[in-house]
Amino acid sequence: MTIAYLEAIRLALGESLDEDPRVFLYGQDIAGAFGGAFKVTKGIAERHQDRVLNSPISEDAMAGIAIGAALEGMRPVIEFQFADFATIAFNQFVNHAATIHWRTGRSCPFVARLPVGGTPGGGPFHSQMPESWLSHHPGLVVVAPATVADAYFMLKDAIACLDPVMFCEHKYLYYHLKADFDKTRAEHLPLGAAAIRRGGGDCTIISYSGMVHEALRAAEILSRDHDLDCEVIDLRCLRPLDTETILNSVARTGRVVVATESWPFGGVAAEVLALVSSEGFSHLDAPPRRLCALDTPIPFHPDLFAAHHPDAERIADVVLETMAF
């Protein structure tokens, strides 16, 4: 069966509602026949009218409500219309949800679904990646699926997880990414594991979310045009990081390029570079490099957006520079 990334999310949500009476969905415009700004809950909302509720435009309260319901034994899944609006819930996330387990020993299991990432014409406030500011404070799990199967399995694992999970789903992939999908497939990676999407010994390209597909394209370009064999790691889970998979790969390749569509400063790419340089130093044959979005707000005009946003060609260029070191 071929389904889109968004359909995989819908499937996981629908099944969770079907199977687990503790699960409810809360967010703006998700209820009824409308089914959400991106139509993720379309169909399933009508099947579960009592557990798919529209919220007011009150993101701080949405997060607080998720915390409270989680403490009372529910498994809330809250939808932000765009990840950009999760800034309003920042305090509840980092100061409240993230601290409950450590302070009280109680777990606070909920999922915040965050439509992330850029699309041409989206502009500064509908395109952002929130994973950097969500992952600095200890206590939140931050994941960013890049594939159809991950969208499904990781969402189910996120709902099962005892910690608050920030589920970053990429808007561009919603309808653009389609894949054969077999949900009965027995083994899938656990929530916290990175995936090696392509094996290779020359250079490790590390990425997550939408940028994984550019990383894979870059690896193809490099293979086709430069006879280079790149390993592509999809981090999947950003907090906690699968440091083992990263360091093992770098030990094999000696070279690493991290590609993200976030801003560079203090982002996950910086964290990965800090990791490989401090803990994998002896393996490095060349400086670890990062390629991120340009360091300005995200531009509205598609031409500016294209220049702002890393792509396969530019990733390949950085790999070539790394190889030439």
Binding site: F34, P120, P299, F300
Partner: protein, 349 residues
């Protein structure tokens, strides 16, 4: 690039006491409403022609309320519009050409292609370029008015006014609450226009608030509150006119809540089939209603009104034609720098 003021057939600024001038006011009001509607319609067409990169939102059905707000302001006032305020923006001084340029993402637009569509603004004119986060603009207006007070400009009984728009949905954002409360504490000449169009995107009022009427919130903030029928052009002018006059006289913050219906989807992409025929039947179209009234009252003839539409379309077409010849932004010429002072290692003198 400073936007050029558009040339509209001039109608003298009326005095409220003069019955003839009331008609002038009503005619100017209708003209802004029509211009906004025609511009919104044209933007929808441009989007269909793939000439607009981002989303298109229209103020269909809300023109009477929005235009009244913008018209009753004057140079030196501040206006923080939202996504359905094409009418108010134009009436306050936004140029048609900047609307078209911004929506097309042109380098010549006030946002230079960096930001688009409804996020445009012109701070020099007192027209704030909104960020998307609902409620966030209101405290900025509070800060602007406080600045003027510090600067000694808020004295006398003919104060400048800060106006901000919000919807039934945005009224529930924490940012809105904090800002409105701060305006009240500072007793500022702020006018909050609440366009209760029954829905926030697809969510009806019963899921966004539980008071009887949003105007009930005014007393809780220490605002003077009043309501009006947002489909009735004269009622909008009267209510906002009164609120603005009170604010100018130094009577402190004002809230005007209009009841109306969004007569389109949330954005152009939204068929809005959740709006039932029953609901639709309860609300008229402010432009149709006002056109009829002005005809019945003998203020305008059918032809006058037709001419208002034609003039509007002519102005818009000229702007579209011009904008289309203008350059897109060039990534290679961008500085890609977010700071006003990119070099902080320079010694300050």
């Amino acid at each position: 690039m400073k936007p050029q003021p558009q040339k509209l057939p001039s109608i003298a600024s009326p005095k409220a006491s003069d019955p003839a001038s009331i008609n002038d006011l009503r005619v100017r009001h209708l003209r802004w409403m029509i211009l906004a509607r025609a511009l919104d319609d044209r933007m929808c067409k441009l989007k269909a022609q793939n000439l607009v990169p981002g989303s298109v939102f229209t103020g269909r059905g809300q023109e009477a309320f929005s235009a009244a707000g913008g018209m009753l302001l004057r140079p030196g006032d501040v206006f923080a519009p939202l996504i359905r305020d094409q009418a108010g923006r134009l009436a306050f001084g936004e140029t048609i050409i900047d609307v078209v340029r911004t929506c097309m993402g042109k380098r010549t637009s006030s946002m230079r292609g960096r930001d688009g569509n409804i996020h445009r603004g012109n701070i020099d004119l007192g027209l704030l370029p909104m960020i998307s986060h609902l409620g966030a603009m209101v405290s900025v207006v509070v800060g602007m008015l406080m600045a003027r007070r510090f600067q000694g400009k808020l004295v006398g009984n003919d104060l400048c006014v800060g106006m901000a728009s919000i919807g039934d949905g945005g009224m529930n954002a924490g940012a809105l609450h904090e800002a409105v409360n701060a305006a009240a504490v500072e007793k500022l000449p702020m006018v909050l226009l609440v366009a209760n169009n029954q829905v926030a995107y697809s969510t009806f009022n019963d899921r966004t608030y539980a008071c009887k009427d949003l105007v009930d919130r005014a007393a809780g903030y220490g605002f003077n509150g009043q309501s009006c029928d947002g489909t009735d052009a004269a009622a909008c002018l009267a209510a906002i006119g009164d609120a603005v006059a009170r604010a100018r006289r130094g009577e402190g913050p004002q809230m005007v809540v209009a009841t109306l219906l969004r007569l389109a989807g949330h954005g152009l992409h939204d068929p809005a089939d959740y709006i039932t025929p029953e609901l639709k039947s309860r609300f008229g179209d402010c432009i149709q209603l006002d056109s009829n009234t002005l005809k019945i009252q003998g203020v305008l003839s059918e032809q006058d009104i037709e001419r208002l539409w034609e003039d509007a379309r002519t102005l818009i077409s000229a702007a579209v034609e011009q904008a289309q010849t203008e350059p897109d932004p060039d990534p290679g010429q961008e500085t890609w720098n977010a700071y006003a002072e990119p070099d902080l290692k320079k010694v300050r003198t």
